[in-house]
Symmetry: C2
């Protein structure tokens, strides 16, 4: 069984949301009628293929957005402020979601657990170390993208048949759809906010069969009911 | 057997050297008696623990160095230029070292090969795809640091006893010393230039036993002679 990390085991998106807010406030000093948020979304999406997921790419996208919006009037001190936010994000403590420590410990007694997350390699490893959950995982898979091919690769590497593979996560786009495509089971645990990049249109979900729980603490009971899990 | 990637299979450091040169030239417009190169080295070393290895961290370090050197006079257009270099570095083609394609194909017939590299996850995967060498490797391990613990982890994951594990690479600091510490064999293939961070004092090498070849094409013959390789 594989578990996503960001916004499944620990809070992540609120940190980005908070820095986005500070970023928009900073740019309002240059452009009071700011559309920094929308432009940042666009620049981020365009940069994903070059810079990938994670804080460093986010910082570079903020700087590019700021330069673009201010027509080059952006002051160097503000560039340094933005980089400083990135350093703070990377250094910030990991806050587990409620009951996650107990649930993961409990699950690990019954199932071989894999942590399966995308993002920056060093930062994700650091967060896992800070989370205190590391010892419960048989494998750590930090990947640059979560598509059906990547899930098939993980299933193969751990010798788990698709019909016995369960993925648990908060992103329909990354944790649910590609797992179903690869023949596995998926358990969706929505988080309070979803990054625009991870959103999925409802029609994409029609006819698909996956489980949905409100909180990770419901997972052990769900698994007892459908019990396919490897 | 595990092979390093950057400057062992394909050219990498010259790309950084070239951008460093452009960076110093850019800063000479602000500070004619520039010490941009030395300051950049310092900022990079300080940032490694936060930003890790790879182009994105290098770009952030260049921007910070530039702001620090110019006392805030740095123009936004130059910040954009620096980010543009990063995007070009990430997009640049992979140039294999001479004979590498043949040697790796040859080795893969006899030994299960692992690619073992540090750096940015997405960028290293992209480079491997561009290299055309991907199919020769049984495993791809992109790690955030290469220390003895990481090598022990890789040996364990692939079920290779240390005395049958061989690491081949161009960095004494990352590819040789920690492998020996983990009980494995190491083959050093120096590259034409070595990043300051990867340099090792000669006294650290005294009493250590590792192999040294001038070029990867000498590896098959070396392995036939000492033949421990798993």
């Amino acid at each position: 069984m594989a578990l996503d990390a960001d916004d499944t085991l620990w809070h992540n998106e609120p940190l980005f949301t908070s820095v986005r807010g500070q970023f928009c406030a900073l740019l309002e000093r240059y452009e009071p009628a700011g559309i920094a948020g929308e432009l940042l979304d666009e620049v981020e999406m365009r940069n994903l293929e070059h810079f990938g997921y994670g804080v460093k790419g986010f910082v570079l996208s903020m700087i590019e957005t700021a330069i673009q919006m201010t027509g080059g009037r952006l002051e160097a001190a503000d560039v340094q402020t933005i980089i400083g936010w990135g350093r703070e994000m990377i250094a910030s403590p990991v806050e587990l979601l409620p009951d996650v420590a107990d649930v993961v410990e409990d699950l690990a007694r019954t199932f071989p657990l894999i942590l399966l997350t995308k993002g920056d390699l060093l930062h994700q490893q650091t967060k896992l170390a800070r989370s205190g959950l590391g010892s419960h995982f048989r494998g750590i898979e930090i990947v640059s993208e979560k598509d059906a091919g990547v899930y098939r690769g993980v299933m193969g590497r751990y010798g788990v048949e698709p019909e016995r593979f369960v993925m648990v996560g908060n992103s329909l786009r990354s944790d649910i759809l590609p797992v179903l495509e690869a023949g596995g089971h998926a358990v969706y645990v929505p988080y309070e906010v979803t990054w625009v990049h991870e959103r999925v249109a409802p029609e994409q979900l029609a006819m698909l069969h996956f489980h949905r729980i409100a909180h990770l603490r419901e997972l052990p009971e769900l698994l007892r009911q459908f019990s396919p899990a490897g």
